[in-house]
């Protein structure tokens, strides 16, 4: 057995141990049940869609009429009733943008995109990529400004990481 064999054996042992460590570490995590609830909720929407659509339409009209006092509670109601619908999060994000809270807005946009990637797909009628891109740029500028004032704030850094994630989603991927 030469040095290459010894190196290979050590590498194999380390890799096997690392694999099991990763597996065991993941088993300890609470598996998010969001996706199971999401697919269960999706079937409910077939019936409830009419109500959801009219609430969405009303929320948008209120927003365009600069009536955020009514638009925001309606958007929150939509989120409560249809938490696994991308449109609910999208509307909430739009309300937050109009309230000049871009960081919170992009957080809602992120939820919307994770639920329904069509929001970033130009081939679909749901495409909102350019609006989201503008919001992300604004959010990034704001978070960078806040971080420069409080460089040790962990929550700000987490928010910035989320914004970078959105930037990557917007940039696209072949996957």
């Amino acid at each position: 057995m030469d040095w290459l064999d010894r190196l290979s054996l050590w590498a194999i042992v380390i890799l096997i141990i690392s694999s099991f460590a990763v597996i065991v570490g993941h088993v300890g995590e609470a598996r998010p049940d969001r996706y199971m609830r999401q697919s269960a909720a999706a079937t409910d929407y077939v019936v409830a869609n009419g109500e959801r659509d009219s609430m969405l339409k009303l929320a948008r009209q209120l927003m365009e009429g600069v009536n955020l006092d009514k638009a925001e509670p309606l958007a929150r109601e939509l989120l409560q009733k249809y938490p696994y619908d991308g449109q609910s999060h999208m509307v909430m994000g739009d309300v937050l943008m109009r309230k000049q809270e871009p960081v919170k807005a992009v957080s809602e946009y992120r939820e919307a995109i994770d639920i329904n990637p069509d929001f970033l797909d130009k081939k679909t009628p749901l495409f909102q990529g350019k609006k989201i891109k503008t919001a992300v740029a604004e959010a990034l500028a704001e978070i960078d400004r806040k971080i420069s004032l409080a460089p040790d704030d962990g929550s700000l850094k987490r928010e910035r990481k989320m914004i970078y994630y959105l930037q990557r989603r917007i940039a696209g991927s072949c996957g």
Partner: protein
């Protein structure tokens, strides 16, 4: 080998291969109403027809009121609006700029004026305190926002230091100018473009007026594209706009008209989104949409 290659190419050409094809549908252009719906369509119908001819795709013109524009933007493909509306739609609806319109002495740029009558004795902005002032439509960058910006930067709060009102009816900018001319208001907020036009038409005498202040130069009216239009087609649309010349004509309702002359513009020029940063900063300073805080 040569025959095999030719056969192969013919085979390829005969197939309905998937590719990124342009959608063959009717595209809707929304034109912001400048003075009236009729006047707006009269001006821009030839441009719409010209674009249909140039791009071999049907376009439909739709005149939309300024205050309703953002409500309807998601139903449009292209927009023709002022710079403030563009900034609002860019932030809230992902609209992207294509080209700016050239007209008047400043080309693709415009500015707002605060005008008074010479005989009023008002020479500077500070003299406006306690006077009456009329503004144009609120979403007009050179009929309201520019002038509001000037006042605020000179320490004048319009809510407290002036009396003012927004006139109803059509031909808004001209009505503001006439309102000052006929002494109904001490000062007026009017776009330089309309002021110059009325002077050149002989409807007002420049010498009777005092330009108390001028706002900064900002982009004038512009053409933009909504999110749902294919980028390649948007590029073609933009190029068609930029290529329009003074003598280009189109037949509309049996009449051959010059496109630019009817639209009352000198042409279209390339513009970048960052050129609108001045409008954005102004909107932030004046607490206007899309940066309005409640």
């Amino acid at each position: 080998m040569k025959r095999a290659v030719i056969f192969f190419l013919v085979l390829l050409a005969s197939c309905n291969a998937p590719s990124a094809k342009e959608e063959k549908r009717t595209y809707k252009i929304g034109y912001m109403i400048c003075n009236s719906e009729q006047e707006t369509l009269h001006r821009f119908k030839p441009l719409t027809a010209y674009l249909s001819k140039k791009l071999d795709v049907p376009f439909e013109a739709s005149a939309i009121d300024t205050v309703d524009f953002t409500r309807q933007v998601d139903t449009l493909d292209f927009t023709h609006t002022n710079s403030l509306l563009y900034v609002i739609m860019n932030r809230n609806h992902g609209v992207e700029i294509l080209a700016a319109e050239k007209a008047g002495s400043n080309g693709a740029r415009a500015k707002g004026l605060i005008i008074t009558l010479k005989k009023s004795g008002i020479r500077g902005v500070s003299n406006l305190k306690g006077k009456s002032m009329v503004f144009g439509p609120m979403l007009g960058p050179t009929s309201y926002m520019s002038q509001l910006d000037i006042l605020l930067r000179n320490g004048i709060d319009p809510e407290k230091d002036l009396t003012y009102s927004i006139p109803p009816g059509s031909y808004k900018h001209e009505k503001v100018i006439y309102g000052v001319l006929f002494g109904k208001y001490d000062a007026g907020a009017a776009p330089l473009m309309d002021f110059e036009r009325m002077v050149s038409d002989g409807r007002i005498d420049r010498n009777e007026f005092e330009v108390v202040a001028e706002g900064e130069l900002i982009p004038y009216c512009n053409v933009a594209v909504t999110q749902k239009v294919d980028d390649g087609f948007a590029k073609r649309f933009k190029q068609a706009l930029l290529d329009i010349k003074k003598d280009d004509t189109v037949e509309v309702d049996g009449e051959v008209v010059k496109v630019l002359e009817r639209a009352m513009v000198d042409g279209y020029t390339d513009v970048q989104d960052k050129d609108f940063d001045a409008v954005r900063e102004m909107a932030k300073r004046t607490n206007m949409p899309p940066y309005q805080r409640f």
